[in-house]
Homo-oligomer: 435 residues x 2
């Protein structure tokens, strides 16, 4: 795809003009630490799930300024700054929570260390990745939790930007979705893809002279012919009861699944189960889709639903499409710094974090402490901050399976009220130890 | 950026399995028409703004399946389907509303004509582009209208996916924003960029031994030294009054602008104006930013604000991050088709639209009619459907300036209640004439 972009330009202009000003007087070389954190979770959310770490590690080596970028930048930058950018390669260190880790307000999910120059340049890209991917993963985890073990398939590509769709599929997979409809997510990240059929396919077989039940059967036969009886047939184009009868007529009672995409899904799922069983298709699964969010998923718990297809609410973060993360300068030449403008206090100093739990594994508190100085505690605890980049080189594994396991164990570690879907406070408190 | 993607894979898997099934029995060659429309506007919105048309026309020639894509597809597609995809090039026709046109529920904003095979493949990409870009442009237009002529700058890149950010900057520009912070939007689309500075730049100059007012002055001097006195200084890192005094001390009373990013913006803007005037900086502009949406922008109308920086609410569509557009099969071999599942009726037949207005130019009604058969009317009216692609070749100008003009004239054409920010009905009714 001729959709090439100089990665360094996926950035706000002011990062580069600040660089120019700082290079001019030498402050650009000051050693700095920057922290990525969220002051709050989206309204009423009880936990968040860190995602995007792997994408950052993937994009970091590509964050360069080539001739094409420099041609644009020459319009407003001096030659010293351009020279710096031409040779740019991030050479600092990055620590952070591993991808898939839970986070809470104030959790230092990423710390970036290096010269002011190299760290300020990364701000926009780091935040774009974390704010998007974390928003999706955090919403997805609530859906996974609400589904209580039933598989979820991400199918929201059409409801978001075409490239954001790939990242959304990845974030949903991290959070525990079984797969996605997005083919590029499969090519790029190895995420299992699934596909059923659209109403248009059934309608393609419509004839002026024959009733819809007849043309629907023709469409189902064509799909089974091409994809085998284990396919998923979409049965609600015209009438669900007729659709299910046609589906079993076309595929036999070894039909893989039916999908219902509209109507009162709980009632329809019950009727479908009964009808399928009567037709001897008692192994045929029932997939539901159509404007599902975590609440609708939870409401279907008692129904004979085997899997969920989730679109819009997944890719839009179910009401919270961005994660409110910020990238703040917290230390300059070893000295903590913080701004003091109204309502936006940030806390200075390079920090790390650990999480306390009960002997049962249920987490009780997050402790954010000055880097290298964890508090002594006799309670079970786990360090959350891990090395990701050293001297510009990625040192962490970029492993989606590990991230998925971390989300799964994180959800298990929450106190029971942390899993409630209703609005509430963060599941555990965060204590910040002053430097 | 080594971020290459086979564009054909930015697609749901089921488009390709439907293709496989339809190729097998020949239905893939049926002539079809598909319509992109929104059944409703986002809750309470009174109009929407079509955006993404230009991006679709740009991506259409790249929608191919190369070796890399086919390698993946070979895992689940037969050789006939793979052969079709290897040679794929869209060769049909596309009509639609020009980019920047207003739309209402049921407006046929895009019609795609061609074989089932070539049209079904485009579904996901078309919807990704239109649902994203239209959501942003529709929110942006409300902000432009609320700002009553004062310039708005898009600065939300960090709050959305890094590639969605570029499209968001473009959509905001279409809707009337003066510019963006996003450099790739400038490189790719020629959108004017602006930049100020971040709090981090001021904090970089912090010293253990000197008060913040002293280090802030040093930071401002460095910025003015590098960027000239016409720059914008961010004055709320510590204390706004001290910040403004420092800003004028650093740049002189020819300072370009100050930016206030936190606090009670109306009060602060008034105080800032007074202080700047007292300091002789009566040409210095005041820019405000910080969680602004259309309501906050409107609430600042009476204040001495010269421009607005808008981030989060812009890139998230101000509560409506996706535009709910669908891509529906409406005609097969000249016969209108429609599905009948609950609550999701779609209207069959290939359609076009025109818009009626009063002699004053105020629009009164949208008329959706069978293609080629506009109703006769004595009222002033304008055809909305224009040719975009013929035989696979783009025939429309892809002109952002024209799109901006269309939004501006569209906003002027709305009845006054259509511009209200409060929730309400669509500004004009839509009448659909049956085929």
């Amino acid at each position: 795809m001729n959709d090439w972009v100089p990665a360094g330009l996926l950035t706000d202009k002011y990062e580069l003009t600040m660089l120019a000003a700082a290079l001019r007087d030498g402050t650009a070389n000051r050693r700095t630490t920057w922290e990525v954190f969220a002051r709050r979770l989206p309204a009423g959310r009880r936990y968040g799930v860190v995602a995007g770490t792997g994408r950052l590690l993937e994009l970091l080596p590509q964050f360069r300024f080539d001739d094409d970028a420099c041609e644009l930048l020459a319009h407003f930058l001096d030659s010293e700054t351009l020279g710096y950018l031409r040779d740019f390669r991030f050479s600092g260190d990055i620590d952070g929570y591993p991808e898939g880790e839970l986070y809470f307000p104030g959790s230092p999910v990423l710390s970036v260390h290096g010269s002011f120059a190299e760290c300020v340049l990364l701000e926009t890209l780091v935040l774009s990745i974390f704010n998007h991917d974390t928003a999706i993963a955090s919403a997805a985890a609530r859906m996974v939790s609400a589904a209580e073990g039933r598989p979820l398939v991400e199918m929201g590509s059409r409801r978001t930007h075409e490239r954001a769709a790939v990242a959304a599929a990845r974030a949903a997979y991290v959070a525990g979705f079984a797969g996605s409809s997005n083919l590029e997510a499969q090519r790029r990240y190895g995420i299992p893809t699934q596909g059923t059929a659209a109403h248009a396919f059934t309608m393609l077989y419509a004839h002026r002279d024959s009733p819809s039940a007849v043309s629907e059967l023709a469409a189902f036969r064509a799909q089974v012919e091409a994809l085998g009886p284990d396919t998923t047939l979409l049965v609600d184009t015209y009438d669900v009861t007729t659709g299910i009868a046609n589906a079993v007529a076309a595929a036999g009672n070894g039909l893989g699944a039916v999908r219902i995409d509209s109507g009162e899904l709980g009632v329809l799922a019950r009727q479908a189960r009964e009808q399928l069983d009567q037709l001897g298709a008692n192994q045929t699964r029932i997939m539901v889709s159509g404007d599902l969010d975590e609440f609708a998923i939870a409401a279907l718990r008692a129904e004979p639903v085997d899997s969920y297809g989730v679109g819009t609410s997944l890719v839009t973060g179910s009401g919270a499409p961005t994660a409110n993360m910020v990238y703040k300068l917290v230390e300059v030449d070893g000295i903590p710094v913080q701004k003091r403008s109204s309502h936006k206090e940030s806390r200075g100093g390079h920090k790390e974090a650990l999480r306390l739990s009960k002997p049962t594994g249920t987490i009780t508190e997050e402790i954010v402490h000055p880097a290298g100085r964890p508090p002594t505690t006799t309670e079970p605890h786990r360090a959350l901050t891990t090395p990701l980049v050293r001297g510009g080189d990625v040192v962490a594994d970029n492993d989606l399976t590990a991230a998925r396991k971390l989300v799964a164990s994180g959800l298990l570690s929450l106190p029971w009220e942390g899993l409630k879907l209703s609005p509430g406070e963060p599941a555990i408190p965060t204590q910040t130890i002053a430097p």
